[in-house]
Every structure is written in C-alpha cells, then in structure tokens.
C-alpha cells in the first residue's frame, strides 16, 4: 500500500490471530483439558487495509466478536498484530514510543483508569504529571474540558460516588487532558442513558470541530455512528466488507424508501399493492416500501388516486439495515 503524506493512519493487510483452547464440559473434559490441552489459532482480524486522513471521524461497525475492538487495540498499540502493518502519525503503535503515546488516547466504555476511591481530580493531576503538563496548563485544560463536559463539583467527589454518566465524562476528561490528536473510543456510551449518550456525542462532535482531532469510534448504538461518523468501516468475521460514507452504505443496503401515508378515509390493502410492498396498514395509515427509481411516479399517483391528509418519505432505520447486513454477512 502506497503511503500518502496526507494519511494520518495507514493500515495495510493487518491480521491478528488469537490462540485459544476449548474445553469440553464435565469431569472427563476437565481431565482432558488439564493433561492434553489442544490450542488453535482463531482469526480475529484478517487482511484489513484502509487509510484515514487527519480530522476524520470514522465509525467501526460490526456485530459482537467481529474484530472491531481488536482492530482498535492494534491501532493504538495495545496489542501486536500477527501480520501486516499499522502506521499512526508516522509511528509504529506497538513500539509505544513516548511521542506516540502523547499523541493518542484510548477510552473504553465500562473500563476505567480513574482511581476508584479518590475524586477524579487526583487522577487528573497524576495524568497531568505523567504527560508533563505544568500545574497552570493542567488547570486551564481541566477547566476547559470540564466546561465542555458540564462537569463541576463532581471532579472533587470520590469516583465511587459518581453516576455512570458522570464517571464516563470524567474518564473522557482524563483521557483528553494531554491534548491527543488521535482518539480511539471503544464503546464510549456503553450503558449510559439516552441523555448522557447525547451529551457525550455532542461533546465529541464539538471536540472534533474545535481541535481537528481524528476520532475512531466503535459503538453498538447506531445513534452514535449516525450523529458523529460521516465515514464507516464495516467488519464482519474479521474481514472488512465496507469502507465509505454512511449515506452510500444506506443506499446500497436499501434500494427502497419508506412512504408513509395518512388517508382521509380507510382503504383496502389491495388498492395499494400496485404502488409498492405494503409494510403496514392500519385503518387510515399505510406504510409502503417503494423502489427509489419509481418513487416520483408512485408519490404522484398516490396524491392523484387518494384523498391524502399527510405523506412522509424516509429511509428505513439504519440500525435495522445494519442488523440485516450482519445477519446476511454481505453488502449487495
């Protein structure tokens, strides 16, 4: 793969295999596992290549065990690849050089670096010292991020007394204290309520705009991906099968659009069959799935043929499409 100087991250034919051992249930299985343990290699990531430019926000999509977290861990240098190359800001991540570590950060939902029994402020000052920030720099930075994250006296309360949302925001503050230019976020909104998720999303969006930081994000919440990531990389069974913008993915996944109609009077389902696939029919409400190429004609005919109060055209929900995609395991 040819490296372009404008690429911040280059991943080239990257693979990771884990060695695992299976154990059969029961006493016999236990004895066999103890005396004659059979191990084998399981591919977690296979031959993945892509490039990311500075300032991009990229979402990694995939079902559980697809390999997206393994990929993220290799990019931030936490684990070593089995084969292939990763280059992040000119560094080989697995060497974990100090200059590289000062450029990046990793936030993992539900995993914490804050000291449990002390207020976040103590951990923040440890991080500030570790990253070589002066007391003044640390204070300014903490105030700036605390304001963006809407954190106040929570920073002086023991971590164990904070809510999950407050804890996550404090974790993010600790992870961003040293002004990293590349953010690796693994499920940063996991377990948070809807409001807390929205606040973390809006903070990340604002942070990206203000600092131009590159953000790589995995999430099971489609709302995170749709709100933050213009580009998505889909991984299925360790292999990359889509890399592009989210809109194009939606179009390629669903060549149809949803047309929801509110009628003045109830009509029989047979009357709608010629317009498209009926998704739902309930008294005066009809939901049709219409192919994109016929959409204009169908809408025009519906307006002519029926007494319509309201009409709405939309894409099917992206999470539904992605879910179907992972079940199918391929993009049409």
């Amino acid at each position: 793969m040819h490296n372009n100087p404008s690429d911040l991250i280059v991943v080239d034919q990257l693979s990771k295999y884990y060695r695992v051992a299976n154990k059969q249930p029961g006493f016999k299985g236990t004895l066999k596992h103890f005396f004659d343990r059979k191990t084998y290699h399981v591919p977690a990531v296979t031959d993945i290549s892509f490039k990311i430019s500075p300032g991009e926000v990229v979402g990694f999509l995939g079902a559980n065990g697809a390999g997206k977290t393994t990929l993220l861990k290799m990019m931030c240098g936490l684990i070593h690849p089995t084969t292939g190359l990763v280059d992040v800001a000119g560094f080989s991540p697995q060497r974990r050089q100090t200059d590289f570590l000062k450029e990046i950060t990793l936030v993992m939902g539900q995993k914490q670096q804050l000291i449990w029994d002390l207020p976040p402020m103590d951990s923040l000052y440890v991080n500030a010292a570790v990253y070589g920030l002066s007391d003044h720099e640390a204070k300014v930075r903490i105030n700036e991020l605390a304001e963006m994250l809407e954190l106040g006296e929570e920073l002086t309360r023991p971590v164990r007394k904070l809510s999950l949302g407050q804890r996550m925001k404090s974790e993010i503050l600790a992870a961003l204290l040293h002004k990293p230019s590349v953010l690796f976020l693994d499920e940063p909104t996991l377990g948070l309520d809807v409001n807390a998720q929205a606040r973390v999303r809006s903070f990340l969006s604002e942070y990206n705009k203000r600092t131009g930081a590159t953000i790589l994000l995995t999430s099971h919440y489609m709302a995170d991906i749709t709100a933050l990531c213009p580009r998505v990389i889909c991984i299925h069974k360790g292999k990359l099968f889509y890399d592009g913008d989210l809109d194009s993915l939606a179009n390629s996944l669903s060549p149809s659009r949803e047309v929801k109609v509110e009628l003045k009077n109830p009509c029989a389902s047979e009357q709608f069959e010629k317009y498209g696939e009926i998704q739902d029919l309930n008294d005066r409400f009809v939901c049709l799935l219409v192919s994109r190429d016929k959409l204009t004609d169908v809408v025009s005919n519906l307006l002519t043929d029926f007494d319509i109060i309201d009409l709405e055209i939309s894409d099917p929900p992206i999470d539904q499409l992605i879910g179907e995609l992972f079940i199918k395991g391929e993009v049409n």
């Binding site: 936490l78 100090t98 993992m108 995993k111 029994d117 951990s123 570790v130 990253y131």
Partner: protein, 265 residues
C-alpha cells in the same frame, strides 16, 4: 531532577496520590500490619523451648532479632504479583500501558505509600513489644539505623523485582500468582523470618547465601538488632541481586508485552 527517568513532579504526584488512596484504607492497613506478627510467634516458640541458645542468641538477642525481622518485613513486603494479575485480567492494565510511564512505577508508588501508612502502626506494635519485654529494649545507633534503613530498601527492591519477574509471566500464564508460591516457600525458610540463619547447618547456610532470600530479612534485621554481620558483603550481594534482576525484569516485560491480548478490555 530525574530519578529512574522520572521527573520529581511525577514521583511526588504518584506518591501523594497513592498515599491519599492508602489513607482511605487505614483500618485494612492496621490489620495487615497486625497480620505480620509471624516473627513474634516464632520468638515465643523459640524462647519457650530454650532453643535460642543453640542459635548463639540469648532471650534478649532473640527478642531483638525477631522484632527487627518484623520491622524489616513491614517495610519490604510486596504484593505486586497479585495487583498486577488482577489489573491484567480485568483490563485495567490497558490504559496504563498506553501512558508514557512504565506501569511498574505505579505499583512501586503504591507500595511506598503503603509503607508510609504502615509506619505509625509498626511503631505502635514495637512500643507494645517493649512494654511486654522491657529487658529487650534497645536503641540502635544512628549509623546502624541508617544502614538498616538502606538495606531494608534494598530488600524491598529485590523482593519487588522478584515478584515483578513472576508478575510478568501473567503475559503467558494468566495465573502467575500460583507461581508466586514457588518464591514464597523458600522466602519463608531462607529469609530468616522463621529462624535466624545462624541456626542453619553450615552446608545449608552456604547454599542459602547463594540465593537472594537471606538479604530480604536476615541481613537488614541483623544490622538493626546489632547482631554481628558482614555489612560489606551483605550490601554487595544486595546490589548484585538488584543488578541481575533489573535487566531480567526488563527483558521478560518486553517479551511479555508483545503477547498481551488486553483481555477484559
């Protein structure tokens, strides 16, 4: 000013934070300090059976040795293998590995902070011991105290490095605390915690002195209690063990980190 590549500010911040953390657990630390009374049990056992004489020590000498052994143990006890194993298996190690600070320094700071927290409890236990055994009271001279302090810190460093060596095996075995038992048993018998090494038959003593264990308790305790001891060779052996263990831990760590799979993270 930098110590082991760390700025004074990093050391100060790590120590004060860890000290604050330890103060949250002061009751637990008092109990831990009390749980280290094995030397006192051994003292009462040997003194009642009048075996002390065969060690070349009278009751007072025996009492001073075991009180010194208790104090040395208080400031050289190490549990890094257990903390490291827990952090490694729970995924807490991952953020530490991505910071420009070797994770082992965090454990060093937590041990030193815990030692500072233990200090008042250790003094209180020593005072109680003197009240119960007034004849054994003594005050070591300042040079004696300094040498005992230095050798105890060296003992802590050797113990920490030995356990770090085992802890690094977490990258291979995941349950390296089980391997720690392989160190603990010879430590118990050869360190001088159960009996002063002068009680050993000469051939056994010769072999024991080739291991790092006598320099963990026996050597600093002898200095503190004022027993005759080869100070030069003792310190030389401690420095030798440290200079063998530092690169060993470093090499094993570097090899191990390549195998890290960030489980639970």
């Amino acid at each position: 000013m930098r110590i082991f590549g760390l700025s004074f500010k990093v050391i100060k911040t790590l120590l004060t934070t860890q000290y604050a953390y330890m103060l949250e657990y002061r009751i637990e630390i008092a109990l831990w300090a009390l749980s280290g009374v094995l030397p006192f049990i051994m003292f009462s056992l040997w003194s009642q059976n009048d075996v002390g004489n065969s060690f070349g020590l009278n009751d007072i000498g025996l009492a001073r040795y075991f009180l010194s052994a208790f104090l040395v143990r208080q400031f050289s006890v190490v549990w890094v293998v257990f903390s490291f194993e827990e952090d490694s298996l729970s995924g807490r190690l991952s953020p530490y590995l991505l910071q420009p600070l070797h994770p082992l320094f965090r454990y060093v700071a937590s041990h030193l902070a815990e030692q500072a927290t233990r200090l008042p409890f250790a003094i209180a236990i020593a005072i109680t011991f003197f009240i119960l055994n007034p004849s054994s009271f003594w005050l070591p001279s300042l040079p004696q105290l300094f040498l005992a302090y230095l050798s105890t810190h060296f003992a802590f460093t050797i113990a920490f490095l030995l356990q770090s060596l085992v802890a690094a095996l977490c990258f291979w075995t995941e349950k390296s605390s089980a391997l720690e038992r392989l160190i603990f048993v010879p430590y118990l018998f050869l360190s001088g915690l159960l009996v002063p090494l002068s009680a050993f038959p000469p051939n056994v003593l010769k072999v024991a002195m080739l291991t790092p264990f006598p320099y963990l308790i026996n050597f600093p305790a002898k200095i503190l209690s004022g027993m005759p001891v080869d100070i030069f060779n003792g310190f030389l052996a401690q420095i030798l063990w440290i200079s063998i263990l530092v690169p060993s831990v470093n090499i094993l760590w570097k090899l191990g980190v390549k195998r890290y799979t960030a489980m639970g993270a």
